[in-house]
Symmetry: C2
Subunit: 679 residues, 2 copies
């Protein structure tokens, strides 16, 4: 397009200003700085991946339209936490936040106007509008009967007279994702405890039930690090009072202290809608939108509302020992019988309208909550039901009330393309098998969460909600409890491995969960595989769904070892893999060092993991453990160690610890060469 | 709102111009004139139903927003062919055309930006945009904790800087609907044959199967008036060539002649997307949009394209004896895995964009096809899959690929609020019972259509598609055939009654199918009843669904008689009504004269109905039969008769024929007082 020029942003990142963009956009509100030191380590890129000349732009009555070329073979992925489709080539997606998408329209809790191509580039449309992407779905009318036109990527941004596009170079698709994440400020690193097991308790629980549940894990030695409260803790909820219901919880401060003494981190549910009984209602009113939700105000967190809300949370929660929050309903609702969230016509004091606020609210809310933890140099790991662009630095994991297991896996794969974290949380189940299959997925995910808000007892004692609440337990609950304990112990043993994956997320922009095309963009076999994924550097996970005794697993080109039996598989093939109830297909990449820790019941402040390093293949690559205090942001100031594990076939294992952190988090107790069927 | 003033349009109709409206709107494209003579007969209204001062208007970055007051009790209905909700109070509806709505979002084949209120008024938002209505679903933020705000009707029109609102006065809700229909140009009157039974044949049929099916009805004496062809008749389809497939149909002209000789009217399936093999592709190309659908052009019917398309149809179809068309896929697609229709960013030669064209295409396509019949002063009755505002004069009935029987009934009720006609067509079924229940609904609807496009045999010979196509017929098909024949004979006997209902639609704006709140707006019991309706002046129909042996029927305040047994029921009560397979609950209003004709197998040009007049109640109101040639538009020039039926308890039945039509269509052969249980 004539007259336009790409502007260099940082290594391999260009910006193209088309027309006159709006004032409020994801990039304009961004608070984290670009992680340039990470970008500089990526392959250099001298030219933008798409040239200005190939780009069409026009302003219409509806907004503006951009067309970008697509070649015949390239495949498109991304658009945030999509549930219903994986490969986006040929599809239409409207990037609109919604809690209950019912079809593959683009609606999701975390829509992101960003996509990547197997041709090795990414494109961010910097807008808080409900932008629509036609991913090669429509062809221009042909000029003559025989002259068939090849379809473009068509992007429509409504209501604007212009927009900034950001282009992220490769050369490979993963490099484009890395650049996007580093442009966002890098990925988050959770505290060690965030990678343990989370349990959210019964919504109707009182202090007694809380105590019972908290004791349960410790007495059964089932690992659990985080104890979460659901809506019932508020004195008024839907909308929120942000005050304890003193009838159910006569002494919340002591209860929290008790939970802390039992080595639980405490997490509180809330949403953003401020009920008139909230102590700061009067103060925050003038900084809120002009429509209510469930009788509560909607604060505009780009104004003074942020400080009012944050200060209240700091004083009343953080200072009392609360280490995290679950931010519910910051998305929107269009597919429910009655719409509950604020309308798109809402006006906010900053000038943001309802559409923009719907896109941004999740991110603004996360930043507001995160700010109090940052202020105290304390890491947190939280949950959010909505997110958007540039969210990778935020220590929040997405969740949903949708509950289809296959869709949850697809969302897990898709989340990585947009620098998001997703928690396939476990609630109830249709059968013991369904429950275990869901827990297995959760164990191999960014957040292992059991949300028992509907249940008086943990779901493995009774997965049926009604029976559970009548205290009718399963006959074989001891058996299930045993399986669940083993799975959670496995989770705990993965923490050092996962923590290092998150360090790569932070410093290099590599998401901890990745779909296969991110690693194997030239392997067309991977383009439609929406049910297996890479977790960290070395593991390929292929979850099972209830009813499956076996499943097809495609192993890309390299050799792989079964995680459980160490049996070796040739790459580039599809296998029918059988599995029993206790295991799902998991494979270790040939040439990996896999550090697995001795399981702990919970993470203490002075945690030190006792690690066995498993050696897969003849010439394994080095593995770098990330080591720091695990609970502050001192690592941002360089206070951490890189613990390099190297295996030399002749000389054996070597450990090279480098950095300025003075503590020791990892003790290597054994190096173990795996042979086939060694377990 | 200051500075704005309502403009008088016609009796009880006002227009309020807000800001600067767009050039292309439903009213700007309207071709029929307001039917003022009908409006003048309605109760006079001296003031608009809502005053300018009560209306808020603002232009935003997204478009414009209007707020209208709602009182606490008023109920809202309308928005076109809604499938998933009936009473709209408290709901959000986006008026967007779509073929496969999956939730209650407002998407439908025929969204109409028009609603009516039980407070006795209607509002039309004159726009081809996807306007959103928040029907009292959201409250403004309160000023103090105790000052709860009452919600308004919020209307957001995207992408515009202004819009015209049209207000339709009552005093009652039916008057508001009447004014809207008369403003649209009045309702359509189908030819007599349009009210008979329609059969659409197997999509893969060749000439032989067509002959077999056409002979079937005549040999079994099952009434059938219209014979329809599905996509397979085109030499290329998806997109369309508009030429016969000569392999399947070596001599289409003769085949049509043969069908005509068998007294069938022939109807052809098509859609609007012009394949390169269509003879007029080259000619229409420059009058088409810049995106293709299924490789076909999308003509812009506000340009020369209309004449090209119409002329071709006139010459190649109308002149060969084709009397109607089925206009498929003129809606849109957003909930399918792959979107097939043109994108909203499409540009059309007239300056219409894709969004506007999606809203308008159904109506423009109908007008294009209708124009050739108008030119020849020949009435038609057709099918369309999309419609919009001001469509009541168009002789087209809506249909859908959705197939939930309950939703079909709800759509039937909703269609009346917006001056639309809807055909709950019958395809396949899950059981014989399901099939009969669906046919019963079709018999008591504006169009009785069996669409057997998936089946080699009529569905009552075998409702299961696979078995049907293997010619495995039901064991009891003779029994079903008998029931179906009886039902179709009932349909034929209703034609004079229905024809008169359509005359009221045309001249008075009263839709032939009406939900109960239209007649009983003060009866709150009717506000949620989405499964019973009034058909014409006297009948209340309560369809049954497969699996029901009985159902609850609310009879509003007046006495009612069972249509079948003549048993009398007090009004204002809910009854549990039992039914066998052959009958559904139908009631006749006390004080009615009900003309029922002797059934015919088909309508011939010189048809004369032999009528028995049933007398319900002591002092029945007069009934006016509408009489004309039944096939031309001469009635628009006043060439018709009103045949007034009057029952005097002392002197008996009187017939008063008045008008300038010289033919005789109705012969009253008997007057029959009904006593309870007289059948």
């Amino acid at each position: 397009m004539c007259g336009l020029e790409m502007e260099f942003v940082s290594s391999g990142i260009w910006k193209l200003r088309l027309g006159t963009p709006e004032r409020i956009t994801p990039v304009s509100l961004q608070e984290k700085e670009i992680l340039n030191e990470g970008l500089e380590k990526l392959p250099s890129a001298h030219y933008p991946p798409i040239s200005e000349k190939e780009i069409q732009f026009k302003v219409t009555r509806r907004g503006c339209v951009i067309e970008l070329p697509l070649d015949e073979k390239e495949q498109i992925f991304g658009f945030g936490l999509q549930f219903y489709s994986f490969n986006q080539r040929g599809l239409k997606k409207q990037i609109r936040v919604n809690s209950d998408p019912v079809a593959d329209t683009g609606d999701t809790h975390a829509p992101v106007p960003f996509y990547v191509s197997t041709r090795g580039y990414g494109v961010l449309v910097d807008t808080a509008r409900y932008v629509t992407f036609y991913c090669g779905s429509h062809s221009h009318s042909r000029l003559t009967p025989d002259a068939i036109e090849s379809p473009n990527m068509i992007i429509e941004v409504p209501h604007v007279k212009g927009v900034d596009l950001y282009f992220f170079s490769g050369p490979t698709i993963i490099n484009a994702v890395q650049r996007y994440v580093l442009f966002s400020g890098g990925g988050c690193i959770p505290p060690y405890w965030g990678l343990g097991v989370w349990y959210r308790t019964y919504a109707l629980a009182d202090q007694e039930i809380v105590h019972k549940h908290a004791s349960y894990f410790r007495s059964t030695h089932i690992p659990c690090d985080v104890f979460g409260f659901e809506p019932g803790w508020h004195s008024h909820c839907y909308s929120c009072s942000y005050q304890w219901d003193l009838k159910k919880f006569p002494n919340p401060d002591r209860m929290i202290m008790n939970l802390n003494e039992l080595n639980y981190k405490v997490n509180l549910w809330e949403h953003v809608f401020v009920h008139p009984t909230a102590p700061f209602w009067q103060e925050i009113r003038k900084y809120s939108g002009n429509y209510e939700v469930w009788g509560g105000l909607v604060p505009d967190f780009t104004t003074e509302a942020r400080k009012i809300f944050a200060d209240y949370h700091e004083k009343n929660f953080l200072s009392k020992g609360i280490l995290g929050f679950k931010l519910d309903e910051c998305d929107n609702s269009d597919y429910r019988p009655k719409p509950w969230s604020f309308p798109e016509v809402t006006e906010f004091p900053s000038g943001i309208d309802g559409e923009q606020m719907h896109s941004l609210l999740g991110v603004l809310y996360q930043r507001t909550i995160w700010s109090i933890f940052q202020k105290h140099n304390k890491r947190t790991f939280c949950q959010t039901r909505s997110s958007h662009a540039l969210a990778s630095p935020l220590p929040f994991v997405l969740y949903s009330d949708l509950y289809n297991h296959q869709d949850y896996i697809r969302a897990l794969l898709n989340s990585g393309f947009s620098g998001l974290l997703w928690s396939p949380e476990v609630r109830n189940a249709n059968s013991a098998e369904d429950l275990i299959r869901r827990i297995q997925t959760a164990v191999f995910s960014p957040l292992t969460l059991i949300n028992a808000f509907q249940m008086k007892n943990p779901p493995w004692l009774q997965y049926d909600i009604e029976k559970n609440n009548e205290d009718i337990l399963l006959e074989n609950y001891k058996e299930l409890e045993h399986i669940v304990r083993k799975l959670f112990e496995l989770r705990m043993s993965l923490i050092p491995y996962l923590y290092s994956a998150f360090a790569r997320y932070r410093f290099e922009g590599i998401p901890p969960v990745r779909a296969l095309p991110l690693e194997y963009p030239d392997d067309a076999n991977t383009y439609q595989i929406d049910d297996e994924y890479l977790l960290g550097d070395s593991l390929l996970v292929a979850p099972l769904f209830a009813g499956q005794q076996s499943r097809k697993v495609y192993l890309p080109n390299t050799a792989w070892y079964c995680f459980w039996t160490h049996q070796k598989y040739e790459g580039g093939k599809t296998y029918n893999v059988k599995a029993d109830l206790e295991r799902i297909p998991v494979f270790v990449r040939d040439g990996s060092l896999l550090p697995l820790a001795r399981s702990l019941e919970f993470i203490k402040q002075d945690v030190c993991f006792e690690i066995t390093v498993y050696i897969f293949g003849e010439k394994p690559a080095e593995f770098i453990l990330f080591e720091d205090d695990g609970e502050t942001y001192n690592f941002e100031r360089g206070i951490y160690n890189l613990v390099k594990l190297v295996w030399d076939p002749k000389e054996g294992g070597k450990i090279n610890r480098d950095g300025s952190y003075s503590g020791i988090r990892y003790k290597i107790i054994e190096w173990k060469r795996v042979a086939e069927d060694s377990l």
